[in-house]
C-alpha cells in the first residue's frame, strides 16, 4: 500500500475512534509525548493499561462471585480502572467505571453485575481498536513515514 494511502487510512480510523467517543483528547496527549528518546512510549503505556485492566477485571469478577460482597474493595478496584482508562484516553471504559462506582455506592448487586459486563465489553472493544490503530501506525513508521496527528 502506498504511504499516502496508509496515512489516510490511519488518520480516518483514528478520527472515527474519537468521533464515536472510544478515545478522547488524553490519547492525543499520550501520542504527543512520544519522541525519539521514547519511540515506543504509546505502545508501552497502552500495554501497561491492558495488563492492569485484565488483572482488575479478573479481581472484580472474583469479588462479585463471593457470598459476602465487599463493595468497598470493588469500588477501590473500579476507581483504579477508572484512573488508568482516563490516563490513556479510553473514554468509554472510564464512563462505564463511573456508572459502576455509582452502583457500588448504592450497594446495588444487580447493578454491579450489569456494570461489570459493560466495563468488560468496553474494555475488549477499546483493546481491539487500539491494537488495530497502533498496528497501522507502526506500519507507517516502519515504512519511514510520520504518524498523522489529530489536533
Amino acid at each position: 500500500m502506498e504511504m499516502c494511502q496508509m496515512r489516510v487510512q490511519a488518520f480516518e480510523y483514528k478520527q472515527s475512534l474519537f468521533r464515536e467517543g472510544t478515545l478522547d483528547a488524553q490519547f492525543t496527549q499520550l501520542q504527543q509525548l512520544q519522541d525519539e528518546s521514547n519511540p515506543d512510549f504509546v505502545a508501552e503505556v497502552v500495554s501497561l493499561f491492558f495488563e492492569d485492566s485484565e488483572k482488575i477485571l479478573n479481581d472484580l469478577t472474583r469479588a462479585l462471585e463471593q457470598k459476602c460482597i465487599d463493595f468497598k474493595k470493588i469500588d477501590a478496584n473500579v476507581h483504579q480502572l477508572k484512573g488508568s482508562s482516563s490516563s490513556v484516553g479510553a473514554q468509554k471504559v472510564k464512563n462505564a467505571c463511573i456508572t459502576f462506582r455509582n452502583c457500588c455506592e448504592e450497594q446495588n448487586i444487580e447493578g454491579c453485575f450489569t456494570c461489570l459486563q459493560l466495563v468488560k465489553q468496553e474494555y475488549l472493544l477499546v483493546k481491539n481498536k487500539l491494537e488495530t490503530l497502533l498496528r497501522m501506525e507502526q506500519q507507517i513508521l516502519a515504512a519511514g513515514g510520520a504518524v498523522p496527528m489529530i489536533e
Binding site: 509525548l33 521514547n38 512510549f41 501497561l48 493499561f49 477501590a76 484512573g83 490516563s87
Partner: protein, 148 residues
C-alpha cells in the same frame, strides 16, 4: 541552530537541574508524569507510595534518629491524593511537619474535583491542587512557578 528547552537546561549544568519527586500508586500514572516532567527538563524520581517517598526524602522511620539529613534534595514533590495506606494528604502533612522539608513545594493531584478535598490540602500547605490526567501545559506552568 535549534535552541529547545532540553539544550538550554543542559547548558545550565546538572547541579541547576530541578529535581521532582513524583508519588503515585498507579504505574501508568507514574510513567506518564515522569515523561511529562522529563519533557520539561526536570530530573525525576518516582515513588509508588508515601512510605517510599518519605524514605527517599530522608524521613523514613529508620532514619528519624539519624541527625544528619540523609535524604536527597528535591525542588518539588507531586503526589497523587488517593493512595492506599498513606494518602497524598497524609504525606503532605508529614512533609510540612519536617523542618528539613517544609519549604519544599508540594502539589497534590487527583482525578476528582472535590472542593472540600482541595481546601483541606491547600490549608495544610499544598502549593497547588491539580486535576488528573496532567497535561504538558500543567507541567510547564509548574516549571515557570518554580523558576520565579
Amino acid at each position: 541552530m535549534d535552541m529547545d528547552a532540553s539544550s538550554l537546561s543542559n547548558g545550565m549544568g546538572v547541579e541547576n537541574e530541578l529535581h521532582v519527586l513524583a508519588v503515585d500508586d498507579s504505574l501508568i500514572d507514574r510513567r506518564l508524569v515522569e515523561k511529562l516532567l522529563k519533557n520539561s527538563s526536570f530530573k525525576v524520581t518516582t515513588a509508588e507510595n508515601g512510605l517510599r517517598a518519605l524514605e527517599f526524602l530522608g524521613l523514613g522511620d529508620d532514619q528519624k534518629n539519624n541527625l544528619k539529613t540523609t535524604g536527597s534534595k528535591v525542588n518539588l514533590i507531586i503526589t497523587d491524593y488517593c493512595m492506599p495506606g498513606m494518602t497524598g494528604y497524609d504525606l503532605l502533612k508529614k512533609i510540612k511537619e519536617s523542618n528539613a522539608l517544609k519549604e519544599v513545594p508540594v502539589v497534590i493531584v487527583s482525578s476528582e474535583n472535590i472542593p472540600t478535598r482541595i481546601n483541606k490540602c491547600l490549608e495544610e500547605g499544598a502549593q497547588q491542587f491539580m486535576l488528573k490526567p496532567l497535561k504538558q501545559s500543567d507541567v510547564k506552568q509548574l516549571r515557570c512557578q518554580l523558576m520565579t
